[in-house]
Symmetry: C2
C-alpha cells in the first residue's frame, strides 16, 4: 500500500471535495482518497496506480494539480 498526496487547485466547497474523492475512488487500485479543503490537497491510499493516472482522474473532472 502506498500513499500519495497531491496539491489540487480549484476545490472550493464540499461538493468539490466529494467530486475529487469520488473520481479517485473509482480508479482500480485506489483504496481511499481523502480531500483536505484547508490544505487544497488530496491524500490517496492505493496499490499500483501511477501518479499520472491519479492526476489524470482529477484533471478529467475539471481541477488542476500543482507540480510537486
Amino acid at each position: 500500500m502506498k500513499e500519495t498526496t497531491l496539491h489540487v487547485i480549484g476545490m472550493t466547497c464540499n461538493h468539490c471535495k466529494a467530486s475529487v474523492e469520488s473520481a479517485l475512488n473509482e480508479l482500480d487500485g485506489v483504496t481511499t482518497a481523502t480531500v483536505s479543503l484547508p490544505d487544497n490537497s488530496v491524500t490517496v491510499v492505493h496499490e499500483d496506480v501511477t501518479q499520472e493516472r491519479l492526476v489524470e482522474a482529477i484533471e478529467e473532472i475539471g481541477y488542476d494539480v500543482a507540480p510537486a
Copy 2:
C-alpha cells in the same frame, strides 16, 4: 409571472450553482432559477411563491440569503 433576485452567501463553484438552481426549480410555481456566481445571486422567475419559501429552499441545502 414575477421575478425575484436574492443575494446568496456561500456559493463558490458550479456545483453550488447547480444545487441552488435545482433546489429552486423543484418548488411548485418556479419556472426558472438562474445563479450568477460572480454576483452571488440567484434570479427566480415564478408564479405565486412567497419570497420566504424561496429563501427556505436555499437555506435547506446549506446556503444563506442576505437580507435585502
